[in-house]
Amino acid sequence: MEHSVYLDEARDPLIIAEGWMKDGKDVAIATVVETWGSAPRPVGSHLVIDTEGNFHGSVSGGCVEGAVVTEAIDVIDSGKAKMLEFGVADETAWQVGLSCGGRIKVYVERLG
C-alpha cells in the first residue's frame, strides 16, 4: 500500500477531531489499545465520534464501530472514559463482534 508522506488532512481522524472541537462540538476519541489474534486495525488506530453520531476513522473493519459510537455518546455525556472489549460475536456479552476471530480492546474517552 502506498502511504502519503504528508497527513491526509481530509481523512485523518485526529485532524477531524480537532476541527470538530474548534467548531464547538463535543467529541469522543476511541483508540485500539490492544489486539489479540487476527485484528483488522492495528494498535493505535482511532475512531472519532461527535454527539450526532458522525464518525471518522476505524477501530475494526466495520464490525464494532456501531457499538463504539453508541458507547462514545455515553462517554461524552458522563465524561468518564471506558475500556471496551470485543471478541468473536457469540462469545461476548456484546451484540456485535469480530467475525475474523480476533479480540480487541478499545479505549473511549471524551475530548476535553
Binding site: 508522506v5 485526529l14 477531531a17 476519541i29 490492544e34 474517552e109 476535553g112
Partner: protein, 234 residues
C-alpha cells in the same frame, strides 16, 4: 484527551516530527512526549523503544498502566540524480514502504519515460528543497557524481539530520567531497555521518545491485535510530 494535547500532537504530525501520546489508563490523563524529551524509569525506556520501532502499545510502569500511541512520520527517500541506479532504487524503495522523490535538474535524465509513476522534479535541489524541506524522517541518496548537483543536497541533508545520508563515489571522490563540504560549513562530525562509498558492502556490481545495497543501508539506518550510543550500529 486533553484538547491541548490533541492540538500539540496534530501540530507535530503536520510538521513531520515524531511524538508519542502517553495516556494513563487509570485516571485518563495524557501528555505529549517529543523525540529527545527526557523521561525517567521504566516509562522512559518504553517511550524510547516506541520512538525507535514506531509501535504503539500498553505498558506497566510504577504500578500504573499507560498506553503509548506512537506517531512517527512516514519515512521517505529523496534521491538526487535521475540515473540508472535510481531507476532500480525508486520502485524497490516504494515496495519496501519508503515513498521516493527524485530530483535532477538535467531534463534529459529526469523524464517520466525513464521513471514512470515516480515523483520526479526536473529542477535544482536548491529549489525543490526550499519548498519541501528535508527532515529527520527522510533518507537522502546523492547519486549524480556531480558536485554542482549533489553538494547542496548533501549539506542540507546533514543540517536537517536526515536519518540516512549516502553519496555515490569512490573513496578518492569522497575525499574531495569532504573538502568541499567543509568549505560549505559542514562539521567533521556531520560529514562522518555520510555513507560513502554508498551502500552496504555486498559486492554490488550492476546498477540494480547497487540499489539493493543502498536501500538495505537506508533501512538499517532507520531501524537502528537511537541505538548509536549503545554501539548497536555497525
Amino acid at each position: 484527551m486533553d484538547p491541548y494535547a490533541l492540538k500539540t500532537l496534530n501540530a507535530e504530525r503536520r510538521a513531520r516530527r515524531a511524538a508519542i501520546l502517553v495516556t494513563d489508563l487509570g485516571d485518563g490523563r495524557d501528555r505529549i512526549v517529543r523525540e529527545g524529551d527526557q523521561v525517567a524509569g521504566e516509562l522512559g525506556a518504553a517511550i524510547a523503544k516506541a520512538f525507535r520501532t514506531g509501535n504503539s502499545g500498553s505498558v506497566e510502569a510504577g504500578g500504573r498502566a499507560f498506553f503509548l500511541n506512537a506517531h512517527l512520520p512516514q519515512p521517505r527517500l529523496v534521491v538526487i540524480g535521475a540515473v540508472h541506479i535510481s531507476q532500480a532504487l525508486a520502485p524497490m524503495a516504494r515496495i519496501a514502504g519508503y515513498p521516493v522523490e527524485i530530483i535532477d535538474p538535467r531534463t534529459a535524465f529526469a523524464t517520466s519515460d525513464r521513471f514512470p509513476d515516480i515523483a520526479l522534479h526536473a529542477e535544482w535541489p536548491e529549489d525543490v528543497l526550499k519548498r519541501q524541506p528535508l527532515d529527520g524522517y527522510t533518507a537522502l541518496a546523492a547519486l549524480t557524481h556531480d558536485p554542482k548537483i549533489d553538494d547542496f543536497a548533501l549539506k542540507a541533508a546533514l543540517d536537517a539530520n536526515c536519518f540516512y545520508v549516502g553519496a555515490l563515489g569512490s573513496r578518492k571522490t569522497h575525499a574531495k567531497r569532504v573538502e568541499r563540504l567543509l568549505a560549505l560549513g559542514a562539521t567533521a562530525d556531520q560529514i562522518a555521518r555520510i555513507h560513502a562509498p554508498i551502500g552496504l558492502d555486498i559486492g554490488a556490481a550492476s546498477p540494480a545491485e547497487i540499489a539493493v545495497a543502498v536501500l538495505a543501508q537506508a533501512i538499517h539506518a532507520f531501524r537502528s535510530r537511537g541505538l548509536e550510543s549503545k554501539g548497536a550500529v555497525a
